[in-house]
């Protein structure tokens, strides 16, 4: 990588490390942590959805499994929920294998629908399996730390891991395979790429990171129930919109989208009361209509081979 290539991540890392020392109030720290959670989840989705082009509508399944792995460890075995950071991602990855085997037989909209159905099945099962999951009552734990600073650094580390994984994958041979599958699966297949296997290579790290985020979410928020962590609208679809807004198939798409989403959410909540989701919905429509490749995608600054460099893509913004 060139010196310039290292500059931006270093600056961002330094800023991210000192930020909680400047913003000492719990409220801005909470917002930063939420941004990091969404940035990690978005990065996980982006790997599968953005790069490999397999638009999943069921990422809440992995997120929720991670969260419930942590929560149920505490609830059944009285082990600290922090062990969930190890168990959660592993459970999510293990479950991703059969999900992948089922869903990768399908393409495009059918794949999206199959993942959507699977996500919903997980939500319904975790709601109804009361003896094991406590159902809609959810799981409540006590927070480990009194302040938000430790949580912030843990979230930052998890996000760092996600960004590192994503960058390593997309800059390797695998990344080019992913993009070729997205652009034309048949052509990729005819060039000798075993597409199902490589889609799986995109899904497994994606599920791992989503599970890790879920387990951290359990530790941080200290309360989960199936309607929150397995939510179709608030997790599965929202993560797509977040990445969409930031920039699909762009390493900075998820963090930027997450920052916009959380910041707007807080601003609109303060201004408009309950209408914050409405404002967000309108914004989503506008972004898709006018910035079809998201904020980072339309900036046109980071142009890798992963992008289609057609003039129409840049001109879409002015229409």
């Amino acid at each position: 990588m060139t010196a310039k290539g290292w500059l931006t991540p270093t600056v961002i890392a330094v800023v991210a490390l000192v930020l909680p020392l400047i913003l000492r109030d719990p409220y801005p720290q909470h917002i930063l942590i939420m941004i990091l959670i969404w940035a990690t989840l978005g990065t996980a989705w982006n790997l599968l959805g953005g790069y490999a082009g397999q638009v999943s509508f069921g990422h809440a399944a992995f997120f929720g499994l991670g969260a419930y792995s942590a929560g149920l460890l505490f609830f059944h075995l009285k082990i600290s929920t922090w062990w969930g950071l190890l168990l959660g991602p592993l459970v999510a990855t293990a479950v991703a294998v059969p999900i992948g085997l089922i869903c990768f037989r399908l393409r495009g909209p059918y794949f999206a629908l199959a993942t959507l159905a699977l996500g919903e099945i997980f939500r319904l099962v975790f709601t109804n399996w009361v003896s094991f999951t406590r159902g809609a009552q959810g799981i409540l734990i006590l927070s480990t730390f009194p302040t938000k600073v430790p949580y912030y650094y843990i979230a930052l580390a998890i996000w760092g891991l996600a960004m590192f994984t994503l960058n390593r994958l997309i800059n390797s041979k695998l990344g080019y395979y992913f993009v070729s599958i997205r652009e034309d699966q048949d052509a990729a297949e005819s060039l000798g790429i075993p597409t199902t296997r490589y889609k799986m290579y995109a899904l497994l790290p994606s599920a791992f990171l989503a599970g890790l985020t879920g387990a951290f979410y359990m530790n941080y928020i200290a309360f989960i129930d199936p309607h929150v962590v397995f939510s179709l609208g608030d997790i599965s679809v929202m993560v797509i919109l977040v990445v969409m807004m930031g920039g699909v198939a762009n390493p900075w798409g998820a963090p930027v989208g997450a920052a916009i989403y959380i910041a707007l959410n807080e601003i609109f909540r303060a201004w408009l009361g309950s209408a914050n989701v409405l404002a967000f919905g309108i914004l989503v429509c506008l972004v898709i209509l006018f910035l079809p490749n998201g904020v980072m995608g339309e900036l046109g600054q980071i142009r890798r081979t992963a992008f289609r460099q057609k003039p129409a893509a840049a001109g879409g913004g002015q229409k």
Partner: protein, 291 residues
Amino acid sequence: MSLFGQTVICGILLGGMYALIAIGMTLIMGVMKIINLAHGALVMVGMYITYVCYKSWGLDPYLGMLIAMPALFLIGCLIQKYMINRLVEVDSILPENQVLLTVGIMLVLTEVARLIFKSDYRSVTTGYSSSTFFVGDMSISVPMTVGFFIAMAFTYLLHLFLTRTDLGRSIRATAQDRNAAVYMGVNAPRVTVITFGIGSALAAAGGSLLLPLFYLWPDIGHLFTAKAFIITILGGMGSTMGAIFGGLTLGIAESLGATYISMGYKDVVGLVIFLFVLLFIPGGFKSLTKR
């Protein structure tokens, strides 16, 4: 045995009304080749319009439907004309942009409804809401039966429209092969606008028929989106007859699941059937009849 019979009949009646909603979606899917995730939200808007007609003027839901349908036709046309059709020209990395736009529309519609009506559960109580009649020793709900027959009547009218009129034929032509239809002089963008309008109007009709049976709140749209999808995939994209079979299958499966497994798991039954159909008969029932 009477429990089984009652369960199946209840499933068929409910399935007929689901089918009407799903036919709206399958029309849109057939012509536009996109998943319309806002479909349930359109059902919800239709239900609220009928609800308001009932509350302010005491209009029966079956008559309120006649107001909700044109209103939704207009909303559908506007959405298609000014939002979704614009995206056809835009180049983006993921082809799913249009689908995500419908998600945005769904969010907006749901939240507007929440802003106006709050999240309260509402219901319409008419004289016949809880009335039943008996066939043998099976009791059958009156609003379900009426709803079922109105839904079937609409389906028949739609079938006539699609097969007997010029506009209906051009809709079917566009669904089969858009480019070929354009060469034959079909104004494809106009056809898509009208199709989305008709699809929305059917969604409103289905919503109005279900209003006496369901509680109404802004998030109810998700429920109908999910059901409409399952039915559309069961029946095969763009197939009206398939949607009817799909609707009846889902209705019966849910009804049996609710009676014999548990109320909470009845939606799982539908989703599992959905997955199996996706995997083993991806073309839906439509593809089975063609062989």
